[in-house]
Amino acid sequence: MTIYKIESKSILAGLVVTAAAFFYGTPLHAQSWSYAEAAKPYAGTTIRVLDEITPLQETMRKLVPEFTKETGILVEYELLGHGDVIKRGQADLFSGRGYYDAIMLHSMQMGPLLAAKALKSIDELIENDALTNPSLDLDDLIEPANKSLVNYAGKQYGFLTWNYNQIYWARADLLSHPDEQALFKTRYGYPLAPAETMQQMRDIAEFFTRKSGETLAGEPLLNDFYGIVLEGIPGGTTFTTVWEVFMNNWGGGVFDSDGKPNLDTPENIAALTFWADLWKFAPPGQAEYSLIDVPTVMGNGIAAQTIAFSDFVLGVDKPGGGAFAGKFVYGGIPYNADNPEARSAGGEPSLMALSIHSKNQEATYLFMQWMIDKATQAKQVAAGGGGVPIRRSSFDLDVMSETTRLSLYNAMATSLQYVRAKPKAPNFFEIDSTMAPLVQQVGIGQLTAEEALKDGQRKVLSICNDCLLPE
């Protein structure tokens, strides 16, 4: 009996210890953690968040009241256009005004803002169990975009929030037309299909460039038709993303591994020459085209293919999106067949960063975390009828297997394997403003790639010698 009692006590003690360990450890935390509970000390706080206006953020805006309802934290979620969000956000951060608590930043802004020490690292906040959702699962975020964007010198600055990426976008009705397929096979010796390599993209561009009066897919053309359309205006920062893709795929790039300007290399010259050659098959107005004009041209049906930002497709290839909606096919950005190891895709992964001047850092951190939370992301994708995932798991959502857009989502998934954030260069905007007009002149045939890159190298060297922030 005594023995039993002892055993019983031991068992009881064992149970108590096990229970204590169980309730004290992570599993309890995971089960009990909620935004409502974590936000209790901050209920009633108002935070100001600046973000970019695209259909993705418009959808997010509809979800923000749910966060307020759950946490009591009021969010002034302000959306501005691409250029304005950069300028106003930077002005707020540089000036120390602290009007915004969190600001959406494109990867190219990281260099100047980190150099200016305007961003708050979120490491301490992430380590705070009371604030961080234990199920946040940051490992689910898409790499290499995420880490190349938010990490610097061993610290994390915000969360990857928008995963803008470029994809290959082509006219499926033309590529699958029997007459065109037969003619292409005869001329190029391989079947006509969405381009997988840069060289195939060039062949398709050449093949489909036709004058008015010629036939396209069995119909006589009333106007000229173009084999490709690409961004060409130097005013927008995304122009650089396009020509940089070619350089990267040729094994080159703007900087070498030490962060020194590395423009006039044989790889870059070859890449830019190839890129400029594509201009022969592009609409005459390509030098005026921004990231917005390219989808417009594709939607108007005067070009066969492009490399464009995938989120713009959502506005064109949808019911009521124009005469060519539903007639497109997509793929990851083509790679250079001569150097497949250097495969790279263009994109502009963007983060929500915490202002160092914010007076509501915990409440803002909760909101930033909520934005990228799995549940929020699932709602965002569902509410938008699809989207541009920041999480790998988002590709498994039902809405993402919708057959009409499957080709688009597969293209995004392919591209995103290779999308990296821009290197963290404090003088990025000055370098960009120096290079973009020179590169554009290569496109319109005013300069050769060699001349432009030689001149560019000289000019960029006068801006900086060690152009990247030391890691």
Partner: protein
Amino acid sequence: MKTTIRPLENRWYPYALLAPAFLVLVVVSLVPFLFAMFLSFYEINFGRIGGFAGFSNYSRLMDNERTWNSLWVATKFILIAFPLQFILGLGGALLLNKRVWGRSMILPLLFIPTMMAPIVVGLVWKVMFAGSWGLLSYNIVERFDFLQGTSVFSSPDYALLALALVDVWQWTPFMMLAFFAGLQALPVSPYLAAAVDGATPMQMFFRLTLPLMAPLMVVIGMLRFIDAFKVFDTIYILTAGGPGTSTEVPSLLAYRMSFEQWRIGESAAFAVLVWIGFFVLCSLFYHTAKKKLNVF
């Protein structure tokens, strides 16, 4: 009954009347200008004022090819736009002054381009001439291959000319209306006397109209000249300074330096230099007009 003005009232009254306008000028023009001048002598990193930099911002600016290019682009722009606006404006005003049919309908219409915000003007012309999807470029310019494989705003040869013509479209009506108002205010008697003396219309134009209109022409011309130098919105919308830097005017370059690249010190130095340049030019203009044309 004799009215007397007290000496004190007489002395301060004009200043009191001018004070509000002067105060506004000081606040919105002089203070920012002095601050810009101050900034131009300092090292400014990412919007934060650092140490005294002497003339280094000025020397960097002078060494920058883009500075000189932008000034040359602005000069070409003015050389194309300004004479056209002046001649067409004056010609139109003379025509309107002839009591042409439908004048009361034409006059309000002339206000439309001038009243439009430059950004809207840019968008209107983009819709017309945007390469390969603009209404006129797609249906006319490219269909008949007028520019041989390029578009209006993509061509280094035509982009600046086209931008100048957009400016002519927007501002010629303003010149026309201003000159028309001037013509309407001219006294009739000199013309009657000239007619009695048997003067031809050409003689009347060169001997009467032009000299009588000279003060107005100088003022309007100077304002338009300054305004044409400051053109920004339409260029920003239509070409963003391209192709290359062939349409990059000083305002656009200064904007980029300030708000895109955060080179505040250099852009402040640019503003100061442009101001000095204009001060010298306008002073020359003023003194020449005063001396040669008996204006002011």
